[in-house]
């Protein structure tokens, strides 16, 4: 199976390749911190992450892919 974001091979039991999987894990882990810090919900959080200048390229791609799923 191909990664949901790029054309690389997806990891077993994952929708993402090795690189995007790591970015996905980071996004998942940091949601709680964001929620506690500024009270955002999941969708707002993804939007903030996707537009933030410090977000890494892979994390941005995953956030955008998750947002499109939400829509």
């Amino acid at each position: 199976m191909k990664c949901k974001v790029c054309s690389r091979q997806a990891q077993t039991q994952s929708e993402y390749c090795e690189f995007h999987e790591k970015a996905y894990q980071n996004i998942s882990q940091k949601f709680e911190v964001w929620k506690r810090a500024s009270g955002v919900d999941w969708k707002e959080y993804l939007r903030e992450v996707a537009k933030n200048q410090f977000t890494g390229t892979w994390a941005k791609e995953v956030a955008e892919s998750l947002l499109s799923k939400e829509a």
């Binding site: 690189f19 500024s38 890494g56 994390a59």
Partner: protein, 709 residues
């Protein structure tokens, strides 16, 4: 003297060093310069006739003993003249022939190459191969500066034989590097070529691989980074009409609501100074430069890459302005003659007062660092002043070395910091100031200090102060910083991979192989994929631990604690399974690398954003129909944008990464053989083009008008 008499042949590493040594050793200080087929050498007279001949760095290198270039594994090697192994090294043959000819009439041989591993190998291979086994009878000169007195002493106290332990360590290092470089690079190159049918060279090396691995690891953390928000308080107080920034008691706050609460509680309020604390601290002098710290300081002060600093330091050494720079020592032994150096430096007006100040001290004792180098002391100025006008970069490095040398003899400095604690509605803010009470060593190193004094107004405890401004600052955590050439070199040093002589060069190789780009280092797709392939199929080749382990064992050879043969065997045994795995997986590796090469080639042709659709990228393309090259938008293939521009059909064109100052469009570099290269703005409506056209028209009018006649 004539070349008919018997003489002692002295071999040096570079022509400048040969001239200096000949001048120092000739009893009249005027050796005769000769030149044969562009190879210079010097004839001098001392206790007996001397001929001083330079090498051109390494004249010999490790090569495959026999066989084709396109297979692996290869474990049989020999040392051979460089021109047999490298393209464009034809002059090496002439050089070796002349040294061999000069050796025929010599009855004594002295190796006077730089006293380190590379110098040891250069001298040894010349004596062994060009001079026909004279390594066994040659003596060795050891020196750290090209100053006359030191060279004379070094000639008088020659070591009775070559430093064979150092030679063995150097040979092993070159041979192990060759085994790794040739085998793994061939495996990668052949895998890619067999898959794609197109030739392109891929390389890696014993130290290059682990170094690129650091960069890829950092790149991965940056790409998958998710920032976290945090907040801080920005506040200002007003004291007798002047405003001062104050720090809030908590530097950062994890919740926005907490930051808002502080602002709300303190806005428009006054506070009271509860306590004023003053602290004085001693600032110890810096330690002398070894090569790594010199490179690091030059990068942070002037932005020079480590290899540039290394090159400049080498030139200053060859002009006898500084000591041998490829050292890892942070020690300055008294034998270098502190007072003589300072007296010499005082001839330079900029250092006159500073040097005099140190000379007035009774005893000179430098502050030293912990690192030692058995071959050379730390980098220091010789006391000579330049005999020509140094260019800006040379002048800067020399000044840095001189000032650091003086600073290490300085007294400790004393700094004072002040902190006033202001209570505003139960919240604490700090007003901070700092000043230098005693300059000490800082006087000598002033141009390169980064401390800033912040003076505070006269205040006292109990005084009431108005908080004139307060606000919340929204911030985010930042991804780990990218390496730059200097921080990467430092990391290599810390990890114990590479040597002081090779680290800067390895970083340059990463750039020239297009594995990395930019000053704040960005790993290219190609660099990324090479490491990914090695990580999956040959992790041992990029293992920092295994590389360091091998480095340590090679260092032990220099102390006669390990044998070259053992290390070579170990390297071969480590490589065998790696190469078998690479061969078995050739197809999958070939596919991954070919795709990476394809992407890299594509990337090289991308010029910048399309000015029409703003979503596509402009690229240099080639039309199969018209057989012409042009610039087109990548969205053309999706049928979304038809933007295209013509290009010169001759010569080479490539993106510059710079923008036109007239219109902001990307610039192209064009080079047509026989013509001066230029940067081309392909925007047909660029205002610069219009300006130029008008200027040319005006010139034409002036030339044809009657007044101009």
């Amino acid at each position: 003297m004539t070349l008919m008499e018997k003489y002692t042949l002295i071999i040096t590493e570079k022509p400048d060093a040969a001239q200096r040594i000949a001048e120092a050793l000739d009893s009249k200080g005027k050796p005769k310069k000769a030149e044969e087929k562009t190879v210079p050498y010097f004839m001098a007279n001392r206790d007996k006739p001397l001929v001083v001949v330079p090498a051109l760095g390494h004249l010999y290198t490790v090569v495959h003993e026999h066989g084709r270039r396109n297979y692996y594994p290869v474990f049989n090697f020999k040392w051979a003249p460089r021109h047999l192994a490298e393209k464009g090294a034809k002059q090496i043959k002439t050089w070796i022939d002349i040294i061999a000819k000069l050796a025929e009439n010599a009855d004594g041989f002295i190796d006077a190459c730089d006293f380190d591993i590379e110098g040891a190998i250069i001298g040894y291979t010349i004596l062994k191969h060009a001079c026909k086994d004279k390594d066994a009878v040659a003596t060795r000169m050891k020196y750290s500066t090209l100053m006359k007195a030191e060279l004379e002493k070094s000639y008088a106290d020659q070591m009775p034989h070559l430093d064979f332990a150092m030679i063995e360590a150097g040979r092993t290092r070159h041979e192990v590097d060759w085994l790794y470089g040739v085998n793994v690079s061939r495996a990668l190159t052949l895998a890619a070529n067999r898959w794609s049918g197109r030739y392109s060279t891929l390389s890696t090396g014993r130290v290059q691989g682990p170094t690129l691995k650091f960069l890829v690891a950092r790149e991965r953390s940056i790409h998958s980074f998710v920032p976290i928000p945090y907040w801080s308080i920005l506040a200002e107080v007003e004291i007798r009409g002047s405003k001062y920034l104050v720090d809030y008691e908590k530097k950062t706050m994890e919740r926005k609501a907490d930051a808002d609460a502080v602002v709300e509680a303190c806005k428009g309020k006054t506070g009271q100074i509860e306590k004023i604390e003053e602290k004085t601290m001693q600032v110890t002098p810096p330690i002398p430069f070894d090569l790594g710290s010199l490179q690091s300081e030059a990068y942070s002060l002037f932005g020079y890459t480590p290899s540039r600093t290394g090159g400049i330091a080498e030139r200053l050494y060859l002009e006898a302005l500084i000591s041998y720079p490829r050292t890892s020592s942070q020690k300055l032994p008294p034998v270098i003659g502190y007072k003589d150096i300072l007296s010499g430096l005082s001839r330079e007006p900029a250092y006159q007062k500073l040097a005099a100040e140190l000379l007035e001290k009774g005893e000179l004792k430098p502050r030293e660092g912990p690192k030692e180098d058995p071959a050379h002391p730390a980098v220091y100025p010789t006391g000579n002043t330049p005999s020509r006008v140094l260019d800006e970069s040379e002048r800067r490095i020399w000044d840095l070395v001189v000032r650091r040398f003086m600073a290490v003899f300085g007294e400790p400095g004393v700094k004072q910091s002040m902190k006033a604690s202001i209570n505003v509605n139960g919240h604490h803010f700090y007003l901070r100031g700092r000043r230098i009470l005693k300059e000490g060593w800082m006087r000598f190193y002033k141009p390169y200090l980064r401390t800033e004094e912040v003076s505070l107004p006269a205040i006292k405890e109990g005084e009431t102060i108005r908080l004139s401004n307060i606000g919340r600052e929204d911030k985010f955590t930042k991804p780990p910083p990218r390496y730059n050439p200097s921080s990467l070199l430092k990391r290599m040093e810390e990890e114990g991979i590479g040597t002081k002589a090779t680290r800067a060069e390895i970083i340059e190789t990463l750039y020239s192989r297009k594995y990395v780009t930019e000053e704040r280092i960005v790993v290219t797709d190609l660099g990324f994929d090479v490491i990914e392939v090695l990580r999956k199929y040959a992790p041992g080749v990029i293992s920092v631990k295994l590389t360091r382990d091998l480095e340590e064992k090679m260092d032990r050879i220099q102390n006669n604690l390990e044998k070259r043969e053992n290390i070579l065997l170990e390297a071969v045994e480590r490589l065998k399974p790696v190469l078998t795995e690479l061969k078995q997986r050739e197809e999958v590796i070939g596919e991954a690398l070919s795709n990476a090469i394809k992407r890299a080639r594509m990337q090289e042709r991308i010029i910048g954003e399309c000015p029409s659709c703003h979503t596509g990228k402009l690229m240099i393309l080639f039309s199969r129909r018209t057989k012409k090259r042009f610039i087109g938008c990548t969205n053309y293939f999706k049928g979304a944008c038809k933007t295209s521009f013509p290009l010169p059909q001759r010569g080479t064109t490539k993106p510059t990464g710079k923008l036109c100052k007239g219109c902001g469009w990307p610039l192209l570099f064009v080079h047509i053989r026989g013509k001066r290269p230029w940067n081309l703005c392909f925007n047909p409506n660029c205002p610069k083009k219009e300006e130029r056209r008008k200027r040319l028209e005006m010139q034409g009018l002036q030339q044809t008008s009657p007044d101009s006649k």
